[in-house]
Amino acid sequence: MDFRFTEEQISFRDSLKKLCEETCKTSSIRSLWNSLERLDQARWSKLIDLGVVGSLIEKDEGGLGLTDIDLVLMAEESGYYALPEPLWEVALSGSILKYIPNNNEENWKARLANGDFFILTCHEINKFTPNADLADAFFLQDGDGLYFATKEEAKIIERDGLDPSQPIFEIKWKPKKSKRLMHRSESVEVWQEILNRGALFTSAQLLGLTQKVLDLSVDYVKSREQFGRAIGSFQAVKHLLANIQVKLEFARPVVYKAAYSLASNSSGRYRDVSYAKIVSSQVSKLASKTAIQSHGAIGYTWESDLQIFMKRIWFLDVMWGSSVWHLKRLEKEILSPSSEIGPGGTFV
């Protein structure tokens, strides 16, 4: 029993942190909002060099063959900086390559691992696909299986979204039998795995985002003065922020355990991932509410950087299954006389 991350995992996280610290300032995020450029190319190529995009692709397919445990801290870190690029969505698509037969003429498998071919997965759990305009191709599911479609074969329609960094799209597409990668009998489980992994990465990002809005709030209340003293010295303000600290500390191990369960393909992974998504959604939403309250009116402005992180929280909250969806998914498992709830049930 060892719940720690390895030094390697921590230093992998630290290298992403350094990259984000240097290249993903809020000014850079904002500049993309007003630009025709959809990606920060310099940042993106550094991210590619780091290997995250192909991290979940097996080594013999040209990837790094890493696991969810190796990545969860990085996903958390990318949330802290509200990284706009669809790093995790692309990495996610890589995770299912191993199930896909090697008969694709475009050789997109290798190109996906290299990061010069974006495949996004359009999962019906998500009402829309963020960043679809950046994709070269999509994985899609139809009644009879899992399909591949290039961007020319699918029509994408932009919809209004809340987070200016995450444009959202509806995908219209007609399945072509020749592009079916897997029959439904095989794809159902793969599709579930995608959902679990998407939810895990989302949960981890939500942890990072929570830490960020907490840090921003702490900095702000230390410096803002009213009644002749820092507002952070008022207990009503202190206790709001302390509550976030408590909930965040108790959410982290839940998300890390979910990463472990996915990586080890444990039978409890559905339950664990749903736990993770529920707690991370809860703490991050509470944190944004608290952050805006402790900022006062400045937090309610476009100018305040708080919006960058809060909007990402609200956006990720509904991705890969809302809390309500995940709660429904695990309620039968919990509310049953034979459920594992109870002493000794944590790691079975």
Binding site: M1, D2, R4, R252, V254, I334, P343, G344
Partner: protein
């Protein structure tokens, strides 16, 4: 990261399960806040010590098993699964014991630890005073050194188990001219000493769970001073850290309550109001989160990490969870009318009601949750005083 138990851990679990299966009393013991129940629980402590189960994390030479924290967690899981009685000597075993092991002299360890392990001496703690609750540093009860004795005068209060216990440990002002955190000393004293009067206080449930302690020229030998004279505050903070932190409230306790809550919900589902379902699930998730956080912290500690002010987040989390679970149970019972005063009230309902009352004290004792939030805000988040 590897979240599997080792073979040794699995077999340790089996060993515990086997022992408890044949040794946990078949009849539920009376409450340890009654004279008779107190003695029953003392016997249980004795029995535990015969199996060497009283304080498994203590070093072997003091009657422990040198277990690490993961083994301790396994032990606690089995302890609660077996529906074992509560620990009447928890102040001794989980708070004073570790304090003595860290700060006590060899003589003190030899004198006190074996009697603690065997249940022969049951301990209570004496920090609070009528005018020193949250603001413990305002305490006034004096212990002034005279020759090889300390002479104690003043009053302590809210001392859990003191109504029937044998010994107490507490914090006293040893320098009459000192202020606040300075000039305090940590002393051990027998509750039957001359000059000490115990006045039990009835709690919300009517039982005498805590007591006032009055001192009138009570004499305590200097051998009973823990640490140096004047260093009492830092030793007390270490003890309080054990209380808020890992050891006193093992996850198994809340996981068992969550399990019982699920069972209760399944029985009463028909009559339950619609919002309850989600809340019950949430409690189960929180009990799991508490367990995961404890395993997480335990792994950190085993590998040389330290527990700091996280102890305060811990205390808030478990006390609020416990309170929420019991409130839900009460609503579920209420929906069926089983809370009414009648002779058909089930023993299950009685247990929930008692648990509910006690859960209300969780956010108060061991430092109120408001004080914990102050600590988190100031010490972890770095907000100004």
């Amino acid at each position: 990261m590897d979240l599997r138990y080792t073979k040794q851990q699995e077999s340790f679990r089996k060993e515990i399960r086997k022992w408890f299966k044949s040794n946990v009393p078949k009849e539920k013991l009376l409450s340890f806040d009654t004279k008779e129940g107190f003695e029953q629980h003392r016997n249980w402590e004795k029995k535990l010590s015969e199996g060497r189960w009283t304080a498994i994390t203590w070093p072997k030479i003091y009657g422990g098993r040198d277990c690490d924290l993961i083994e301790w967690l396994i032990f606690e899981e089995e302890y609660y699964l077996a529906n074992s009685p509560g620990r009447v000597n928890q102040n001794g075993i989980f708070l004073l014991g570790p304090t003595l092991i860290e700060y006590g002299t060899d003589e003190q360890k030899e004198r006190f630890l074996p009697e603690m392990i065997s249940g022969k001496e049951i301990w209570s703690q004496a920090w609070s005073e009528p005018n020193a609750g949250s603001d413990l540093a305002a305490l006034q009860c004096k212990a002034i050194r005279k020759g090889d004795k300390y002479i104690i005068n003043g009053q302590k209060t809210w001392s859990s188990r003191a109504s029937f216990a044998d010994w107490a440990f507490g914090l006293f002002r040893s320098d009459p001219n000192s202020n606040r955190h300075q000039g305090l000393s940590f002393l051990l004293f027998p509750l039957n000493a001359e000059g000490i009067t115990i006045r039990p206080i009835s709690q919300l449930d009517g039982e005498q769970g805590f007591a006032e302690i009055f001192f009138e020229n009570a004499e305590v030998p200097v051998e009973n001073l823990v640490g140096n004279e004047g260093d009492g505050w830092s030793i007390t903070m270490a003890t309080a850290g054990f209380e808020r932190g890992l050891m006193l409230r093992s996850p198994a306790r809340f996981q068992l309550t969550a399990r019982k809550l699920v069972n209760l919900y399944l029985n009463k589902e028909k009559n339950a109001s619609s919002g309850i379902r989600e809340k019950v699930i949430q409690c189960c998730l929180d009990a799991e989160a508490y367990a995961l956080n404890t395993y997480w912290t335990a792994c950190k500690l085993i590998h040389g990490g330290k527990i700091g002010f996280e102890a305060s987040t811990n205390k808030i989390f478990w006390s609020e969870l416990d309170s929420e679970m019991h409130e839900l149970a009460i609503s579920l019972l209420e929906a069926e009318g089983s809370l009414g005063i009648n002779d058909q009230i089930s023993s299950e309902a009685v247990e929930w009601i008692k648990g509910f009352l006690f859960s209300l004290a969780g956010p108060i004792y061991a430092g109120t949750n408001e004080i914990q939030r102050n600590i988190i805000a100031e010490r972890i988040l770095g907000l100004p005083k």
